[in-house]
């Protein structure tokens, strides 16, 4: 190799792009040529001097890039961990990412949509079939109110004073409650989270049955349907006779007729009436307490007795997805989103593939957003995008997250 050849391959040698044979020939020439040796050494020194450390871009750049390039899938893609050591939340979001990537395939998307439609239709079909038989037996009331106060005075206050239970079917959209800065632990495993979004698996079927029964047992007003044994007992009691029709009693119960409404009850009569009413009222109260603990808990919630409501719903949560959901809501009101976020996850897991589970996902996401845990909130919201009836709300929440991020 000569000096002219060295000149032609100098840059390649400098950057290690030469093949081994040519590089060896160059090194042999350089070893014996002062000019070429000085030339190569000079460039190497300059490279070393001019080597600048890379400037790290702002931490927010990656998120902004993903938000701009992939607005809807940003959270999914962002959940990919950069290293092996990742938090549970990132693993959870990664599962969503994988699920989302599979969902992007047309065949998978169609299959998932079919399953979601079937899952959503099952409770409706079951409810419809059972309701058809129940309708022949019951009269659906507009309100599950006991008899009016005038005739219901002997009734135990706990049974009479409570306002009509709120419709369970109405899912109140709670305002965001700023929780503690620290997000709660994420309870769902990878496999369970997939079931949360799609409602697949045996857990969904079991929870669907429970949820269906719970829904059938409540009229839209939230009171018990009249086909339940406890409701019948209440209707049969003297105190409950006036409410067999379900509405405010139009006629006083026979036991109360002994005491004229206008006049104060005479002492002998009052105790008798009271005594007569007491068992009935106790029965009614017992019936109400025994058969309507959900409504009692809901009443406590509406009265802002959140700790009491939380305990009451927790006692019912094991067999009732709605009570489970309301337990999480009560905890949120009592202790904030910091404690409630993981409780919503628990509900979402237990009630996978049901409206209660989907509500838990949505409200849990709102809690995580309030806690400042945007990626975790996104993961849950994205899982809801494939659920009919929740897609719009989930998207609205995602848009809210994006606006909050852009405004930061």
């Amino acid at each position: 190799m000569d000096c002219e050849k060295v000149e032609s391959v100098l840059m390649d040698e400098l950057y290690g792009d030469l093949d081994e044979l040519t590089s060896a020939a160059l090194r042999r020439h350089v070893a014996g040529c002062a000019r070429c040796s000085a030339l190569l050494d000079g460039f190497r020194a300059t490279r070393q001097l001019a080597a600048l450390p890379l400037v790290e871009p702002p931490h927010s750049l990656e998120a902004r890039v993903l938000d701009a390039a992939l607005p809807r899938a940003a959270a999914v893609s962002r959940a990919v961990p950069a290293s092996e050591d990742v938090s549970f939340g990132r693993r959870l979001a990664r599962i969503v990412s994988i699920a989302g990537s599979w969902a992007m395939r047309p065949q998978t998307a169609m299959a998932a949509l079919f399953l979601v439609m079937v899952g959503a239709a099952v409770p409706l079909l079951r409810g419809k079939s059972s309701r058809a038989a129940a309708n022949a037996e019951i009269r659906v009331t507009e309100q599950g109110m006991p008899a009016p106060a005038a005739t219901a005075a002997p009734i135990a206050p706990s049974a009479a004073a409570e306002p009509p239970p709120a419709p369970v079917a109405q899912v109140a959209r709670p305002s965001d409650v700023p929780g503690s800065p620290k997000p709660a632990a994420h309870a769902a495993t990878a496999e369970e989270f997939r079931e949360l979004a799609t409602g697949k698996g045996e857990a969904r079927d079991r929870e669907h049955d429970k949820d269906s029964r719970a829904l059938r047992e409540r009229t839209p007003s939230g009171a018990l349907a009249e086909n339940t044994p406890s409701r019948k007992a209440y209707a049969d009691s003297p105190a409950g006779a006036g409410v067999a029709g379900g509405g405010p009693a139009a006629r006083p119960a026979p036991a109360f007729a002994a005491a004229p409404p206008a006049a104060p009850p005479s002492p002998p009569a009052a105790p008798v009436a009271a005594a007569a009413a007491a068992p009935a009222s106790n029965a009614a109260a017992d019936d109400v307490g025994e058969t309507n603990p959900f409504d009692a808990a809901l009443s406590a919630y509406r009265a802002h007795r959140y700790a009491e409501a939380s305990r009451a719903f927790e006692a019912l949560a094991a067999g009732d997805p709605n009570a489970d959901l309301w337990a999480a809501r009560s905890l949120r009101e009592a202790s904030g989103c910091g404690a409630a976020a993981s409780r919503f996850d628990q509900v979402a897991r237990r009630a996978a593939g049901t409206p209660a589970g989907w509500d838990a996902l949505l409200e849990g996401a709102q809690c995580y957003r309030g806690n400042g845990d945007v990626p975790t909130a996104r993961a849950r919201l994205i899982a809801l995008l494939g659920v009919p009836g929740y897609k719009d709300r989930a998207q609205a929440e995602l848009d809210r997250l994006a606006r909050g991020r852009n405004g930061m």
Binding site: L10, M11, D12, Y15, D17, D41, G42, F43, R44, A45, T46, R47, Q48, L49, A50, A51, L52, P53, L54, V55, E56, P57, P58, L61, E62, R64, V65, L66, A68, A69, L70, A73, V76, S77, R78, V80, A82, S97, I98, G100, S101, M104, R105
Partner: protein
């Protein structure tokens, strides 16, 4: 930045992204955002402008993902987009030099330093007293280097940055800047010669580091 042998190649990731795997795109962003940002930063001399270039580059990658053919290198395509965006930004003339990048700032000991940079040369020496002196010198060298790079002609500077910052081979740089490979190598040599002349007073120091 080239993936290691065990990592998925850029082209494979793009192929997966084209198939709908959005996670693959995130990997690409993480792999390339830092060198891409540095390329734009040294070209535009503005952090916010560099961020915009990075963001817009990846947006265009997504927008045109369907047209990417695996016959070409992904990095060539990526930097072609980024280079064009830098050229557009410079032509608009709305950028001004960012003092924190090009001018040394006084540190707590009165030494000149550039914020946000990596470990100084002095950090590597066990001798505490000498390390302070080296830190001062290395900071000054760094400032001179930045200024020298800034003074390179545009065509030489972009080749220098693509080679030294983004670690792209000359063959790819030729595609990016749309010039023959030998022309690219020549520009690189000229750039190194200019830098060598500008930094000659520190050359001995640089030799001592080897």
């Amino acid at each position: 930045m080239s993936p290691s042998r065990t990592e998925t190649t850029d082209e494979a990731l793009m192929s997966r992204f084209q198939s709908g795997e959005r996670m693959a795109f995130t990997v690409l962003v993480r792999r390339h955002q830092t060198p891409l940002y540095n390329f734009a930063l040294r070209q535009l001399r503005s952090g916010p402008a560099a961020e915009e270039v990075v963001q817009e580059t990846f947006v265009r990658v997504v927008q045109n993902a369907a047209e990417f053919k695996n016959a070409a290198r992904f990095s060539s395509w990526l930097y072609t987009i980024a280079r064009n965006l830098c050229i557009d930004s410079l032509r608009k003339g709305g950028l001004r030099r960012h003092p924190s990048l090009d001018e040394p700032q006084r540190g707590p000991h009165g030494a000149h330093s550039l914020g946000g940079e990596g470990p100084t040369l002095g950090d590597r020496t066990p001798d505490a007293k000498a390390s302070v002196e080296r830190a001062v010198v290395s900071s000054e060298i760094r400032a001179r280097v930045l200024a020298a790079i800034d003074e390179l002609p545009d065509d030489q500077r972009e080749v220098f940055l693509l080679r030294e910052v983004s670690n792209l081979p000359f063959k790819e740089i030729a595609i990016i800047v749309d010039a023959p490979e030998n022309t690219v190598k020549s520009r690189m040599r000229y750039a190194l010669e200019r830098l060598q002349a500008t930094l000659s007073e520190f050359e001995e120091y640089a030799r001592a580091l080897r």
